[in-house]
Subunit: 132 residues, 4 copies
């Protein structure tokens, strides 16, 4: 019993990675492959551990790719405008580099906006159809 | 400005999917491929929308696979003991089926336990080494 | 052992409520009391269960207040511009009411912006001080 | 526009604090006041920033209490068996202290268990009632 309670404690102490639900719904539409999606999520997982610029090697240890393959995938994601390398200053004024998925969030919001406009138009047509 | 504030509002209203951080750290060790990992996360994303038994078709719409390929992958994940189909009763006493990732969480905790034991042993050896 | 494993399963199946970390850091600065803060979080907890317009009674059942006290607190939070009652359409085109904390998020971002500007100015002064 | 996009970016980069949904549902039943509940959540918020043993002063800065009042509340929460001060070793083998809410999670699971048993009994009675 003690043994099992210890497992429950372990579980309650671990962290969660928070992923926007819209990511799962829309990455395919943006031409992101399932493997690339997983790589982006691994980057978010590192962020949740306060590692903002994981090395290709650190990512390769958790995925079925070599360092070189990870690097090539990261470069492609940057080129396609889903991932960016941004710079900031920490609390001590030290410059640091980090991966940011903001360009991806921005594009996912574009999709959501387009869908909302389309839905409104459909609704409007439906209402007009009901009138005439 | 209004336009952009509207996007901020949209973002704050969307939901997050909570993924145990240990998942990202350990799925590879369990012999789960990156694509299978993504499929498991898609199931969790559906859970967060209160869809507990997404159809192969619903999953295929969000991933780069056909319904048949999704079905084959789901069956493999069940066979390998990472995913189970469990049954429960909702608030109205109606029986429902749902996917559960509990077998996977259980096995990830096995890994964490083993690592903790190994670490303790290493620590002990180190301390003994310091004494003699 | 089985018994305890059952508790672990229960825990892994429960949902989390995601609260912006900035909320905890800044509500006091905005003149929100600890009790009001708790009420706002209870509203977010209902949102995570897909209840977007909990009644004063439903909130009172979870807090140490009467329905009337909850209602008075909700009105004050609306008046002070932290909470709003917004309207939307669900997937079936049905109008619904819901509480939104967007005005609060907007004001918390104002604080964050002001702090960032202040910090930059301090940094600049420090750098100028180092030159002369 | 740029200005507003900057706010969206800020928001997407902030962290979330994950609170078990069961907390909001059950703390009142355990005799925890709304203010104490808020204090417990502040501790979890510090945890999400990797501060596992926030000082009374750090907590007092975010709540409407003095350091002494915070300390008294923390002591009461420990005495009542909702909060514990546990010890562990970090990756470098250094001993650290931290607050743990595990005793609270354990007691919330007790409530959930009792409710499940009660519900099953009601269901059984209902079914027997239907037979005779």
């Amino acid at each position: 019993m003690k043994e099992q309670n210890h497992r429950l404690r372990k579980w309650t102490e671990q962290k969660n990675v928070n992923i926007p639900e819209l990511f799962f719904r829309h990455y395919k539409k943006l031409g992101i492959s399932d493997n690339e999606a997983m790589l982006l999520l691994q980057i978010l997982a590192f962020h949740s551990e306060n590692v903002y610029f994981p090395t290709p090697n650190a990512l390769a240890e958790r995925m079925h790719y070599t360092d070189e393959e990870i690097l090539a995938k990261l470069e492609r994601l940057v080129q396609k405008g889903f991932l960016e390398i941004s710079q900031g200053y920490d609390a001590n004024g030290i410059l640091y580099e980090k991966y940011s998925l903001f360009p991806l969030w921005d594009r996912i919001l574009d999709i959501v906006d387009k869908q909302a406009i389309h839905q409104e138009e459909q609704q409007k047509k439906k209402e007009e159809g009901e009138i005439f």
